[in-house]
Symmetry: C2
Subunit: 255 residues, 2 copies
Amino acid sequence: MVEEKRPLKGADGGEGGAAREARGPGRRLHGAIAHKLGTAILSGQYAPGDVLSGEVAFAEELEVSRSAYREAIQVLTAKGLVESRPKAGTRVLPRNRWNLLDPEVLAWAFAGEPDVQFVRDLFELRAIVEPAAARLAAQRRDKDDIRLMRDALAAMRRHTLATEAGRAADRDFHNAILNATRNDALQTLSASIGAAVNWTTQFKQRARALPRNPIPDHVRVFDAIAAGDGAAAAEAMGVLVELALEDTASAMTRR
Amino acid sequence: MVEEKRPLKGADGGEGGAAREARGPGRRLHGAIAHKLGTAILSGQYAPGDVLSGEVAFAEELEVSRSAYREAIQVLTAKGLVESRPKAGTRVLPRNRWNLLDPEVLAWAFAGEPDVQFVRDLFELRAIVEPAAARLAAQRRDKDDIRLMRDALAAMRRHTLATEAGRAADRDFHNAILNATRNDALQTLSASIGAAVNWTTQFKQRARALPRNPIPDHVRVFDAIAAGDGAAAAEAMGVLVELALEDTASAMTRR
DNA sequence: TCTCCTTATTACTCCGACATATTACAGGAA
DNA sequence: TTCCTGTAATATGTCGGAGTAATAAGGAGA
């Protein structure tokens, strides 16, 4: 029994079944299809208004069952990317119907070459929301919040942003701030944007090793929040976002 | 051929098949199921951590096929409400995983009795985002934007907020502002929140006929944007949101 | 020219079977 | 006893096909 269990893998003649190989453990087939189609749409491979080939044809082309294909389409529909009606087919919706702030949609947007204008938009939104979040955090934080932030900050100092552990600590720090706002909507929003912006951190690291030491800026934010000074916290966070934007912008235009 | 084509409709013994009747034209069956389950989760009928009965059992209980049920689950999964794994079943995710800013999730949240704290959170977010959007709009608007806003404002004056046409004009006015920001992310976010907040407008109208004349506040925002005065636009919009919050709050606590 | 109806196409729903992944348990070794 | 390993049970995942319902497009009639 040395024969391969999966005849699709390896030397299969066509490019069909490509969606199957892109799925690791814990990733279902329909998830892989949704990812494939989602990135294709976000990258502009399918333009708004375009009609996808029929269920039977497309499922056959991908070499998957109609069930799996349909479930993938439901996911895209749920995120506002496509809409399907009998007799009319499945068509890509205009961009203003897309849920651009959905975490998965953001991931698809950053899977390929991210659109420069869109990155600018995200940073603009971040520059609006994050300082305000820091202000609220300064007004509402308790001892536990401060402790979490202090621990995360210490971890950031130990490992740098060059390591995965360091970036995790950075996320922890910002998450602790969001938790302190006691606002679920703000948390959902900022978590999405933060994750997306962190994709760009890879670009920054790729461009130049360590642009600048981010610790002092973080410390300023922490001190203001710990002191309960909302205005100072917003100010310091504004600086932090501004610097991140500059680094990212220079890293993206440099290529 | 007078016999009923749908034996489920009418005098069916159990409450099964209820999901079928809730679907009008253009609404598919799996969409109705997703709506049913979504509202059930958002209303707290299923708590985070709860596991739903198996696919076969639940689909049978709802009197729908497994396919339809599964597609509905994919929708909920796409919005971060549930997660399903083989052998473990489908369980409701913790609230911080929910995409609370998804338009459909917001609709589900406001389908029943909306959570007071959540409404407060949304208004807080709105108070952060909308003034900033007005500032950007004041800086970037062109003649077409101004014309659209003026038209919408005139329509608001003609019909009042008591009529559907008036509320549509209100939405048009705010959408025109968002368009003028030239920021897709901001547009997506604000459109979601705005729609959700408009659900609460019904509450306001129900509570007392016409709390106050909203036109002067809108005019102030319009004038500032037309004049290109960002600071004034942000200030005026801040007042607008503040007043809306007061009206909504008094309407909700009054009940 | 416009309205209404017919028709063809497409997505939608259902069914039953099999494959796969993951948990839980039992057995054995340290 | 405790930990690890292998095995079996179970629920989700995937598949293929058949039939239904809804809608857009085209044709008949006014």
